[in-house]
């Protein structure tokens, strides 16, 4: 029986969505070596899958020592920010097909925070900066209302964008100012200060602005827009920082 070879190949490629990709991963484990190295892994993967799926394939089927954080797998928990092909992204929100899988895909830990193992970094300085801006509603009213505080839909909309933050650190760890000086609060902390400064119910805007008026505060921002590009929640981070700067000058917010 003469079956044309071409048809077979075509039928196969139509049936199997899989392609072969190379993941080039930055490995570091101080228990093993003080040096970080690159390691390549070849994977068969459906290009519609996530980078996180690729990392799981490595961990589950090839090398159980590969270490990274993850939980929700759909971009809402903020665990898996990493540098993918040189840009900060969430591994679970990045599809293979969208990052040029013909070439090796490089995967590194986010920058500016101490690497502890493979893709895991020390998040403590990041969360400390967040805590330093007093990220909680402060009101001065002596007798609390029995029902909810009222807020108009417009006032609620005013800070909507910055309520979306999942504290993934993609912005802060893409910021050249932060790379050079870890004392800078960083975009994420400013975003979270913005969320309260522009909330009509909050009464500690002045205090927060003073904190950000510090030498390590908003004035360090050089408006490179890296943070806005990096934010997986689509928050206009640079705009939020600019609004905080303006509020510092005008004292109106």
């Amino acid at each position: 029986m003469a079956t044309p070879v071409m048809d077979k190949v075509e039928a196969q490629s139509a049936a199997s969505p899989y392609i072969t990709v190379t993941f080039r991963v930055r490995r570091f484990n101080p228990e093993v070596s003080a040096e970080a190295t690159w390691q390549d892994f070849q994977l068969e993967i459906d290009p519609k899958e996530r980078v996180l799926d690729g990392l799981h394939k490595i961990k589950w089927d090839l090398d159980g020592t590969l270490t990274f954080r993850r939980s929700c797998a759909h971009g809402i928990c903020g665990s898996d920010a990493m540098r993918i092909n040189g840009k900060n992204r969430l591994a679970c929100k990045t599809l293979i097909k969208d990052i040029n899988p013909e070439k090796p895909i490089t995967i590194e830990p986010i920058k500016g925070l101490t690497v502890l193992k493979d893709l895991v970094v020390d998040m403590e300085p990041f969360f400390q900066a967040y805590r330093d801006v007093m990220p909680f509603l402060i009101t001065k009213d002596t007798n609390e209302p029995t029902r909810e505080r009222l807020q108009s839909a417009e006032d609620r909309e005013r800070f909507d964008d910055t309520t979306k933050c999942i504290l993934c650190a993609a912005c802060t760890s893409s910021c050249p100012v932060f790379w050079n000086d870890g004392q800078y609060f960083g975009p994420a902390a400013i975003v979270n200060a913005h969320r309260f400064i522009f909330d009509s119910r909050d009464e500690a805007g002045e205090q927060r602005l003073e904190i950000l008026n510090d030498k390590d505060g908003v004035w360090r921002c050089r408006t490179t827009f890296n943070c806005t590009d990096a934010c997986p929640r689509g928050i206009e981070v640079t705009k939020a920082i600019a609004e905080v700067k303006r509020a510092l000058i005008t004292r109106r917010y």
Binding site: D61, A73, S79, L137, K164
Partner: protein, 584 residues
């Protein structure tokens, strides 16, 4: 090994854990142990809303809410607990608003409310707007707001600490909680926390299914830890399958999408829910909708080349409404499916979503050692617990409510207890179980792989104990789980290190999933009726004569070391509502 002493220890920093922590920290020296950074908890994935009869937009009251909860749970709900849930709902939403939660607002500035499945006016007359929400990221806002308030209150967190064992000291037949044993991810060090009161708030266990809305980390560690120590698990056969998960991936598309007017359609474009639930239609309760979807699929009206899904149609809704009310889920469709929801319907299928069962508690959050006896010093709240306010099927928006109402109650009760109680002596060698478990896995030379066993477990669970079950399918699952448990003894890991050894922890998590899958399947096999989320094709009707009772599953260890699940039953608390047939 390090030993710590606290009045109150909370296991988990999701919504339930942090709500408890805010109360407990004010009243007692409290530590929160959490395997994830608090803001990574899966409460943050919740989209749709939180129920409370605020009556901000139309007439409503807590009694209607209680009724809907009891009916939604197919009458397996403990009605005294449901009444507390519905009554305290109002204050718990107002508490969150005062803590700063940015709810969406009505034109007069009050908290806005929208429709959700199974919530009705006047005992089923018509859908009611009861769900308080913040766009489609209500859970995210709850998690952030609670974390913010934990920062404010100075709550002490131990992040990336995995609790692997519950310490129980038994004297004269009375079990008491002595503390917990935890594993520190960063260092591999073992920590014993002696505590007067322990609260489990460690979330669900959906990862034993393949298609699920649950995070990778929802592996039922808390349920497994107490179960191994002789505490029963209640109603584990009841698992909720949410109708609208993204096809094949299981990522959730909130019921709020149907609350905003979204419609389910089969391959002929037919709005098929009209056939199954003439009044509530697409907003009937979740078990009903999930079964209807699978009925359509089985009868050949599914969509796609394999006919294995249906559509969620939002195309008739104005884009502005989608942008304002459902920005996240429309983004999910774009990111993961490459579909534009403005113009194209979204392929969906039911997804394993929520564990109705869990660690049995009373309404103070106190854990029960049997049908009535409280374990002094042991508490549970949230998805890990079974109060039971959800019965056989949880209503949408009632879980975010549950974690707030019962998280708060457990936090207060535990702290009050730890203020008057003494420490219970730690067992002789408190870390023994954890140390030996870890050593066994680190040194194992077996040939089984964690990922392979987990895949097989997930496949058998999806195939055999999902939306439709029969004696035959459940037995297949029971046998497969037994085989996997055997093979698990030969599991080996590759990472032998101490630092961030997630390879080791995934192996431990798999062990927990296997134990819980067994409890679920064995409980399901014995329940020869259909009720809520548990649907038996061979027993399609509810049987109140024989099964209006909660399942209580106990671990039995034989003289030869063999383990089995022993089932017992507990009466349901009924107050006002007599069981009726459930129609939507």
């Amino acid at each position: 090994m390090k030993i710590h002493k606290y009045d109150t220890v909370i296991v988990g920093a999701g919504g339930a854990g942090m709500r408890a922590a805010i109360e407990a920290t004010k009243r007692s020296r409290t530590a929160v142990l959490t395997k994830l950074y608090p803001t990574r908890s899966h409460t943050g994935a919740a989209q749709g809303g939180m129920a409370a009869a605020l009556a901000n937009v139309e007439e409503d009251n807590w009694e209607w809410h209680t009724f809907d909860t009891v009916k939604g749970g197919d009458y397996l709900v403990d009605q005294d607990a449901a009444e507390i849930l519905a009554k305290e709902a109002i204050d718990s939403v107002l508490d969150l608003e005062k803590m700063g939660l940015p709810f969406n607002r009505t034109p007069n500035g009050t908290i806005d409310q929208r429709r959700f499945g199974g919530h009705s006016r006047n005992h089923g007359e018509a859908p009611v707007r009861r769900s308080c929400y913040a766009a489609d990221r209500t859970g995210h806002m709850i998690l952030q707001t609670l974390y913010q308030n934990c920062v404010k209150e100075g709550v002490e967190f131990f992040n990336e600490f995995y609790v692997l064992d519950q310490l129980i000291t038994e004297e004269d037949g009375v079990k008491r909680s002595a503390g917990v044993v935890a594993y520190e991810l960063a260092t591999g060090e073992i920590h014993v926390f002696q505590a007067k009161a322990v609260i489990y708030a460690s979330g669900g266990c959906g990862k034993f299914f393949k298609v699920t809305s649950n995070a990778h980390t929802l592996t039922g560690d808390g349920q497994a830890a107490v179960y191994r120590r002789g505490i029963p698990l209640e109603d584990m056969e009841f698992f909720q399958f949410h109708p609208t998960g993204i096809w094949r991936m299981g990522i959730l598309l909130t019921e709020g999408a149907r609350g905003e007017g979204g419609i389910l359609r089969n391959k002929d474009g037919e709005r098929f829910m009209e056939k199954y639930a003439p009044v509530m239609k697409d907003l009937a309760s979740r078990d009903v909708v999930s079964r209807s979807i699978y009925t359509e699929i089985r009868e050949g009206r599914g969509c796609g080349p394999e006919g294995d899904h249906v559509y969620l149609d939002l195309t008739h809704l104005p884009p502005e409404q989608l942008d304002a009310k459902l920005p996240d889920i429309t983004e999910f469709a774009r990111t993961y499916l490459g579909i534009e929801p403005y113009t194209d319907p979204i392929p969906i299928q039911p997804t394993a979503h929520y564990a109705m069962g869990g660690i049995p508690t009373n309404v103070q959050g106190e854990v029960l050692a049997d049908n009535t006896t409280v374990v002094p010093g042991l508490y549970a709240a949230g998805e890990v617990a079974c109060v039971s306010v959800h019965g056989a099927n949880r209503l949408g928006t009632n879980s975010l409510l549950d974690i707030n109402v019962f998280g708060k109650r457990a936090g207060i009760a535990a702290a009050d207890y730890s203020q008057k109680a003494d420490y219970v002596d730690l067992p002789e060698n408190p870390a023994e179980f954890v140390v030996s478990q870890i050593e066994r896995l680190r040194n194992s030379t077996g040939n089984e792989r964690v990922a392979e066993l987990r895949r097989e477990l997930q496949e058998t669970m999806d195939a055999n104990v999902m939306v439709f079950r029969t004696e035959q399918t459940i037995k297949t699952a029971v046998e497969k789980i037994a085989e996997l448990k055997e093979r698990y003894k030969n599991v080996a890991i590759q990472d032998k290190g101490k630092r961030f050894n997630t390879d080791l922890l995934e192996a431990i998590e798999l062990g927990n999933l296997l134990d819980l899958a067994e409890v679920m399947a064995v409980s399901a096999l014995a329940r020869k009726e259909s009720r809520g989320g548990h649907y038996r094709e061979d027993y399609p009707n509810r049987d109140d004569v024989n099964f209006m009772r909660h399942t209580m599953a106990y671990r039995e260890v034989g003289a030869d070391g063999s383990e089995t699940v022993r089932l017992d039953y507990k009466p349901v608390v009924q107050t006002r509502y007599q069981p009726m047939e459930r129609k939507y």
